[in-house]
């Protein structure tokens, strides 16, 4: 069953050119899908539409049987972590849980332990490293209890070493019953973290080209040492050009 259906949506900001034009795609429940496209093509705006920040000017979106019209129906992890500076790590994570309209169980201690954040649970964001901030931000999205979680360039601001660590960490935490949508400019990252890749080669228009990741999840990070992995990365790169 298709968990998320995006049907022919178009969107433009007031007094600006059309950014999204008749975009359609489906995402099956429990899969991880990456969205690749040129910079400034409206990928983040697509997430804003999914999260109900804006309404599409045409078309519609469905989550299961429900129309995706209101905000608060999908989890969201922003690019810059966007943690509340006056809240501790614990409070930031629990905010995701508090804001969820649908009440659900969430074990904070369990997740803090899995994220390696127990020692800094009572620290404030300014006391954390970039990687830790992103972990807190991801846990906050998980705490919202939504089945679909949008990750908007989650590791863009991190250095290469921390990014690799975070990719491994995220891959280990991606549950099979949750759906992940990922925006990233790192093709390598899309291959490591997603089951399917949606390629919007000429901006967000129409139906994207879909590529099935030949390296099934959880992908062993060792595949990066194989030539097959890099050939696949290069193949996507060529298609994007």
């Amino acid at each position: 069953m298709s968990d998320l259906t995006v049907n022919n949506i178009s969107f433009h900001y007031p007094e600006q050119e059309v950014l999204l034009k008749n975009v359609s795609f489906e995402v099956s429940s429990g899969t991880s899908v990456s969205i690749l496209g040129p910079s400034g093509s409206g990928k983040s705006t697509l997430f804003y539409l999914l999260a109900g920040l804006y309404s599409p000017t045409a078309g519609g979106m469905k989550l299961g049987k429900h129309e995706l019209k209101n905000s608060g129906m999908v989890g969201y992890m922003p690019q810059d972590s966007s943690l509340f500076p006056w809240k501790t790590v614990k409070e930031n994570i629990l905010l995701g849980h508090k804001l969820a309209r649908k009440k659900h169980a969430f074990s904070l201690d369990h997740w803090l332990e899995r994220a390696g954040l127990v020692q800094v649970a009572d620290s404030f964001p300014h006391q954390l490293s970039g990687g830790m901030k992103q972990r807190v931000s991801f846990l906050r999205a998980l705490a919202s209890g939504h089945n679909v979680i949008c990750l908007d360039e989650p590791f863009a601001s991190l250095d290469a070493l921390t990014r690799t660590k975070m990719q491994k960490w995220l891959a280990s935490l991606m549950a099979d019953d949750q759906t992940f949508l990922l925006i990233t400019h790192q093709i390598e990252e899309t291959v490591l973290l997603s089951d399917r890749i949606l390629l919007f080669m000429n901006g967000l228009q129409g139906r994207p080209k879909e590529i099935i990741n030949p390296f099934p999840r959880p992908v062993r990070f060792e595949v990066r040492k194989t030539s097959a992995f890099w050939e696949f990365v290069q193949e996507i790169e060529i298609q994007l050009e």
Partner: protein, 250 residues
């Protein structure tokens, strides 16, 4: 700490020195410009007199209660304006009006309506002090981090949740700044209120001293007002430091 206090002490010493030189060279009569030494003697006499301290206490009580009420009114009005755009349009002109009428003109009217009791004096202090708090908070509620606001909107947060998790915490630093400003205004407001008529208070002492050309006593009252204002300012700064410490900002 030493680095902060030393320049202050130095500047006071320099000021007193210049004042002393002017009073010696100008050979002014005491009623016109008393020397720092004369003012210092009167200051010592006043601060060690229980009668004078009763006057200080009367002003302190009005300033203190007036200031606390000003915080409540200032915060209350700002929160009210945050939640109602419609009311903002209605109330804002009246708020501006309340600040454009000089308090010295408005105060006698308050005495006519509320009498010589503490109510009119508290109202004067509130009218002087609440506005900086309200204006600072209204701005503070608006000047929120756009990314955090977007996160809350995407999470389906209600207006109350946006206020509780973002607008109010964002405005806490400006709340402290405006409270420091209002704290210093509160003593001035209390003294102005006492000019209208009272049995006790620094305002009355000042009026009597000015009428009888006891300029040294006027200076003593001014110094007492400055010290009282400084204490209020210091208290707010302490609370601010505690808040920053709690959030591990220092």
């Amino acid at each position: 700490m030493k680095r902060r206090i030393l320049p202050l002490v130095l500047s006071i010493v320099v000021l007193l020195f210049i004042w002393e030189i002017i009073s010696i060279i100008g050979d002014f009569p005491v009623w016109q410009l008393p020397s720092p030494y004369v003012v210092g003697l009167e200051l010592w006499r006043s601060w060690t007199s229980s009668e004078y301290l009763l006057h200080v206490r009367a002003t302190f009580i009005i300033a203190c209660f007036g200031f606390i009420l000003s915080i409540l009114v200032g915060v209350g009005v700002a929160v009210w304006l945050y939640f109602s755009t419609f009311l903002t349009r209605i109330v804002t002109p009246f708020l501006l009006f309340s600040q454009n009428v000089p308090i010295i003109v408005l105060a006698p009217l308050l005495v006519v309506w509320f009498g010589f009791g503490i109510e009119a004096k508290l109202l004067v202090v509130i009218l002087v002090c609440f506005f900086p708090i309200t204006i600072a908070l209204v701005d503070g509620f608006e000047q929120v981090d756009r990314n955090l606001l977007r996160y809350l909107e995407m999470s389906g947060a209600t207006k109350w949740e946006k206020f509780r998790h973002l607008a109010f915490p964002s405005a806490v630093p400006v709340l402290f700044s405006s409270c420091k400003l209002s704290a210093t205004y509160s003593v001035m407001g209390a003294v102005v209120a006492e000019w209208l008529g009272t049995e006790r208070g620094l305002g009355m002492i000042m009026t009597q001293a000015a009428n009888s050309f006891r300029t040294d006593r006027v200076f003593v009252s001014i110094i007492t007002i400055v010290v009282l204002s400084g204490c209020f300012f210091f208290l707010i700064s302490l609370v601010e430091q505690w808040w920053k410490h709690k959030r591990k900002l220092i």
